[in-house]
Symmetry: C3
Subunit: 211 residues, 3 copies
């Protein structure tokens, strides 16, 4: 389905741009920018492929994707300030890309015969863990895990919608469309109205000793 391929390209590009902005915040050089952009764009899919023992990895089998990320990293340096300013415009393509990666990850996991709960988890990992890896490389507490507009929760919900529609034997096309719509709408609304999950109350008095 051609439009899925277009969404996939867009998802990689938008994820790479987010990685560039993340790396620029740390004053990294081009090499660091590429590494973080790469981690954000392909980290989730790489974990999925390693966990499911799929070969070749997504970006090894599709070498034009890392080349695109490399090009973005090389060229974006002088324009980082401008890119930062148009970021709000990226909300919709980013949500769409995250949604697509989530549903593809879920579908691959189901193909491998995993339990639906695990399939949804692997879908959410595919869709959202690139950003976590990027944060870890940049020495930040992952923003996915602290209260901020819902992201993984949207992916989780949409993946269940997708599996639910498959369960009732609706055509794949509709299941995919429903899952994508739910994730995108939920995500955009969460950013618009700043929906967050509550923080679990912090335990006072230092890091817990390793039991």
């Amino acid at each position: 389905m051609t439009y899925l391929v277009i969404i996939e390209y867009m998802a990689v590009i938008v994820a790479a741009i987010y990685g560039v902005l993340l790396a620029a915040r740390k004053g990294m050089d081009i090499m660091g920018v590429f590494a973080v952009a790469f981690a954000v764009a392909f980290g989730g899919g790489t974990l999925r492929d390693l966990f499911l023992d799929r070969t070749p990895l997504f970006w090894i089998g599709n070498p034009h994707y890392p080349m695109i990320v490399f090009g973005i990293s090389l060229l974006s340096g002088p324009f980082v300030h401008h890119i930062a300013r148009i970021r709000p415009l990226l909300l919709l393509p980013d949500a769409l890309g995250m949604a697509l990666f989530t549903l593809i990850g879920t579908a691959y996991a189901m193909e491998s015969g995993t339990h639906p709960f695990v399939a949804v988890m692997l879908g959410v990992i595919t869709g959202t863990f690139g950003g976590v890896l990027g944060d870890v490389i940049c020495n930040e507490v992952p923003s996915l895990f602290v209260p901020s507009p819902l992201n993984a929760t949207c992916a989780f919900t949409g993946a269940w919608v997708y599996l639910g529609m498959q369960h009732f034997a609706l055509p794949e096309r509709y299941a995919l469309l429903a899952g994508l719509s739910v994730i995108v709408a939920f995500r955009v609304a969460a950013v618009r109205w700043n929906w967050t999950l509550p923080a679990v109350r912090e335990v006072r008095g230092g890091k817990p000793p390793s039991i």
Copy 2:
């Protein structure tokens, strides 16, 4: 052996609870709590399975385990303070779980035909690296690697005891029992009397340049 299954469930539950406490220290939301609990409970076993190319991964083949961790993450939020208070009671089950994971990891590695030294290393990774991953996600220097009551050292010792008894052709059951006992007793004593390894003396004057 039924009692091993019971220890395994207990090990997953206790590891997840430790992850919840770790995440709560950082003010994470439920999604972060689940991610850290998951990393602590399954991180070591996942590394082992990836390194030994075992499929499916432990938690993909046993989907009730991630479901249990998910349930703990969802429900523990309001009770974090209380859980923090009873943590001392978790020392024994945690030591037992760490011991079991270490010996299972060692046994799997031996089955794959690895050298005993590598098998022991993979056992220690299985038993202890979940906590390291949890610390890395939480942006902390892993407590396993700085002077604190012996943990990996106990696992290392017990894994050699286990292999030693196998070497002398003692029944698997006794080798397992001996390994578990050594690890648990060593670990509990290390926490009780605060046995630590000495710190390697810090090098002054900033991070070493990349040579």
Copy 3:
């Protein structure tokens, strides 16, 4: 080729020593020193093997390598200050080791039938990402990614030289020698004259929100 084996041993030893110095900066204990030395020495090769689905992993198939790293970690504790002082002497063996690992990684990837661009990337990962993993475990922004004397860039250049000479059907021996020479000379010059890539300008005003 015997001299390649000698370089490989040297590469592992020098990488382990760098890991020891990194861990000592954080006041880690012997266990932490071993873990970081291990990550620096084998991290890049492990990622390469996982990404290409090669089994057994480099250090599982060559158990004497982790044993050497273990010995270095055990013995180096009291000598950390002295080792830190002779580090400048390690520049050449380190550059040679990094060069060898890069070209081996590139060659393995080409054997697996990957696109040359991806093969070069995997070569660079093999040669340089051990240090990144060590930094992440030590809770530092990876020094590979911030402006400091060129490292990954040297590996990248030499890997293309190596592939270029293979492309023109020159004997493997000469391609290897050319690639090694380019990387080592480029790296030594970069350290000597402090060649760095420019930092991408930092974006002001806090971490970018997750779009």
